[in-house]
Subunit: 241 residues, 6 copies
């Protein structure tokens, strides 16, 4: 299932124009006191495995580096520059094409605007240069579009939930429960107001807990429902390709 565990011969035999290749992208980023820096990475890697199984696709080695925005000044955040991210994704996509791959999904666990723009810019360049199908998405984007919002409501996730909140905590509970940190004390609900149109030098000032939402309401059950929803949606998108 992991593409780089093949030998060159196996690669040649098994990978062709119909193979779906998934590139999981994560980030090293502050996620409050309850969750590890790798929270977004874990989610995209877990979903990638589930999706790959269903579409008989292959997974590229995950990239656990991305572009941080409002969390960039917190301890432990490691951010790539916009241009590095863009070049990295571009190079990998163009090498896949050289290897006759024609269907790629870039699946990001992080949904930040700049991070996604960097990935999309790379993918657009590729699509303009080659005749190839590329899907770029963060599973978070799926949860916050029309269909996703309805699903969240039904699942009992409040609308305000976001970075480091109940959704993310629930998902880590099923992928890496050992990394839930709240031994002894619970993460508190936090609903900061980050000014939206002002360009901020120190966004963390408006965001001292580093989270939006309430991780204390997370549960394994929610985590499974969310993952099921996301996996189903991505599989549907892949079938549309």
């Amino acid at each position: 299932m992991y593409l780089d565990e093949l030998s060159t011969k196996e690669f040649k035999k098994r990978i062709n124009k119909n193979t779906v290749v998934i590139l999981p992208v994560g980030i090293i980023e502050e996620h409050g006191t309850a969750l590890p820096l790798c929270t977004d990475s874990l989610q995209s890697e877990y979903v990638a495995e589930r999706v790959a199984e269903k579409v008989k696709g292959y997974i590229l080695p995950p990239i656990r580096y991305g572009v941080c925005s409002s969390t960039k000044n917190f301890p432990g955040s490691i951010s790539l520059s916009f241009d590095t991210m863009r070049k990295l994704i571009y190079d990998i996509l163009s090498e896949l094409i050289r290897n006759n791959v024609r269907k790629v999904v870039v699946l990001s666990g992080h949904a930040g605007r700049m991070h996604m723009s960097a990935i999309r810019l790379a993918a657009k360049k590729i699509v303009n240069e080659f005749n190839v199908k590329i899907i770029v998405l963060s599973d978070y984007e799926l949860l916050y579009d029309e269909k996703g919002r309805k699903f969240l409501k039904k699942t009992g996730i409040p609308e305000y939930d976001g970075h480091g909140g109940a959704i993310e905590a629930s998902r880590i509970m099923i992928s890496r429960p050992d990394l839930i940190k709240c031994k002894g004390r619970r993460a508190k609900k936090s609903l900061p107001k980050i000014p939206r149109y002002h360009i901020l030098r120190n966004p963390e000032k408006y965001f001292p807990e580093g989270i939006i939402g309430d991780p204390s309401t997370a549960s394994k059950e929610k985590g499974e429902k969310i993952t099921d929803f996301v996996v189903k949606e991505i599989v549907r998108l892949i079938k549309e390709m």
Copy 2:
């Protein structure tokens, strides 16, 4: 041991100017019929864990992408451009510095000249800008310098052994024996003569098996000796910092 499994709070408490942070770098690259595309990645990751234990260091998420040279046209090789590699390493190093890290080891499983130059160029820029200690090495470089050559001789590894040969096969036998591919047929010895000073458009012509050396002489025992040697040397280098 993995840096991104910490939370932001844990990071702040545990990571300081004396912490050694190790960045394992691999590559997705043809390694003959006996070994997987991730061969070099596996080696650097395995060594990184062994070294981190001994120096109580932390490991960054491995980068399994690098710069291919003579293998670049084989099926399955995924090569970053020189500039992308350089920028990627630069960004990660500079973010570590923003996070007060002052001792970094970039440990590459791949030893290609361009690949290593890209990493070194990034590290040199950082060192010229900040007062920080950085070690950049491929464990292969250690094996091919004076001390290493003596060690290899003693271990019974012939001098000609190289890419995809006995050293690499021995090491995969201890880190991921399930990925040794030679069920049914053995990888053959291959000693190609790649013209050294000519710049080649299709280096694979001179290199049809894609390997240098004889993976059929690999053994777990050799793998362990080599790993011990490499780990010991790196620990020594870190203590010199």
Copy 3:
């Protein structure tokens, strides 16, 4: 009111750290058969004048060039590359700073994701380098955030209205009514479904009319209400600086 109509002496006397400088950004972009290519430019320029009056600010020469995405292949669309847009905004902002300006509003009539990311990336770089207040927004973003959506509902604008629809037609009716093109035949309602996560080479295939919404329901009255709302919001944001 226009900054470049001052002489160098006048500039020195009147422009200081408290002056608000507004940079209107537009685009040359297909806007259906009812509206001109300069639709977005007209809106940002008209709003800039209304805002400048209220805050006693100065307006820089408008930039009627931007980054097209889904409209890029229609006749008449003239798109800057992402990097050119970013550098252009960066240079202008940094020259304002050299001239002691400390409060800048970049007001874009176009709200495309890549276009806005290019502007924001430039502004973020400036804010990280200098102690300066910058607001970056498209007036469309104001209309589609929570408060804006409520306002639109009240005004009788349907939720689906977008590019080249009733909002834009209403606004051109008050700023440049002579450029409304529908003499003889009316623009029709169009509600295309553009696949969201697929990276498209020819987005115009999914979007043959080039508009989203129903410009035939536009009115001067709506145009004025929308402009009033947008101006009020921007003035409020400026006062928060």
Copy 4:
């Protein structure tokens, strides 16, 4: 006459391989106490309209941003970097070509050496890549070549007249007389000696008035004669295309 006032349909119908498209380029630059920062912009825009009428051409939205050299440190000068200017012109020209335009005039009101080199470098790249006719000129270059010098002599303009002098003041008198600033006091004659081959950090030291020439000798009549000459020359160049 303004290209971006067309709709996409109108554009498709009216713009073809024979259409002449004019891009007026200006600058925000110190022009002494008598003239506004937009002096060069006004001149190129005024000439562009006159020329477009005669050749039935279309005018792109003017760019009022350029590369300042000796005036760069005066209050109010807003300079693009060389590379931004070059990329901006390149992008616009290449988008025109995508839209089947094959005859372009880039008409700059500013004649600075670096500014013109940036534009020419962009145009050369386009001409090497596509089969297209491009004219790049500043109307000042026309006035200072052989034919122009004879004309100026006849019109009574002294040879030393330059930046912010009688020619420019005369031209603003016909295009935007309301922006002539010398109410109450006259601009003085200034003939600075700027060292020519030394690269200067602070060119304004040699150039305290910021002008070369004598704007007090300007007149509407001269302004009209100069404009007529320039328009005629450009129309002639366009016919040669």
Copy 5:
């Protein structure tokens, strides 16, 4: 006299803030049938030696590579790109500064507009970053400014003389007479009209002889007078530093 013939010790002892360092820049460029491709290089190197003697300066290794414009398609022209030229000059100047040099003359034998702009752009960047004196000139610029034109008239050089004409032939007659090629047949007078404002893809069409002027009127005597004039002017400029 040549800076790189010193040892590191000698360099340290002899080179200081008052040392004038001259960088001769040439080009490999078509110069008609009478003159070699290195014509411009020879001139700047010869003048550099004469100037260095008089000011007790040091000469850097000459760069015989430059940016060709109208000659770029002729056999034998080897042109650097604008950006390479600029970076090359920038790097050399900044290394001189690191070595405590504070007075530099970049002396180009080639006077093409793009070539000189690339050099000047590099020098301007240095001057804005460091407190250093730089002169950038082509000796041709000296001959075509006011004083130079008077001198040429007196020397009997016609005004139209230019690239590959009598001036250049006369100068090669004194620096490298063995490279004058017209054994048996004389170079003919050629006065092409190259359209000035049109950006040309194939400028050589308007310029079939590749020269402007009449090399058959060259003489050693003229060559010496011209060199004396140029050397005197440059020495004067250096004393002004």
Copy 6:
């Protein structure tokens, strides 16, 4: 023999697909007290002449600028950046190709890892874009590969000899004996230990004499033997092309 001493006509007649063109690359770099900064340049230029004679090739104007690494902070070292070096070589190679040259040897006197990587990167790009034969080598690489080491042993050069040692001094004794500096006092033997994997900010600390080896054991005889060996090897490589 020097390519730029040809006229455009001569170039067209004599240079074709079979012509071998040699580009000598040097550096301005500290070489101890015995040798001049141009040591490496002299060696490559001398060898280039000897090789060109034997293969009836042409020599491009030498580039006496390169990328310094461990010597970069010594007085007199003038280092190009990695990217400038790469672009410079790329431009020259691509212009040769435009001029129908198909066989090029880039011959560097300096063998630093970064310096050679920059040249190789440029050459690889060319070889991937065009069907052309390029050899890139430093004569030092020839001396330190298997065959070279045997030759050195036989010649009585100790294995440790390197930068500024007996080999280089011997070679300068035959190419430019007037630049041997040791009048009165002899250069001493120096065998510094420069830490190999640590990225060093001030490598000169480990390397106070700036040399590796013993220039006092140099001799004309050794210089001639070494040059003969190197020339013969390069001629052989060229014949293999």
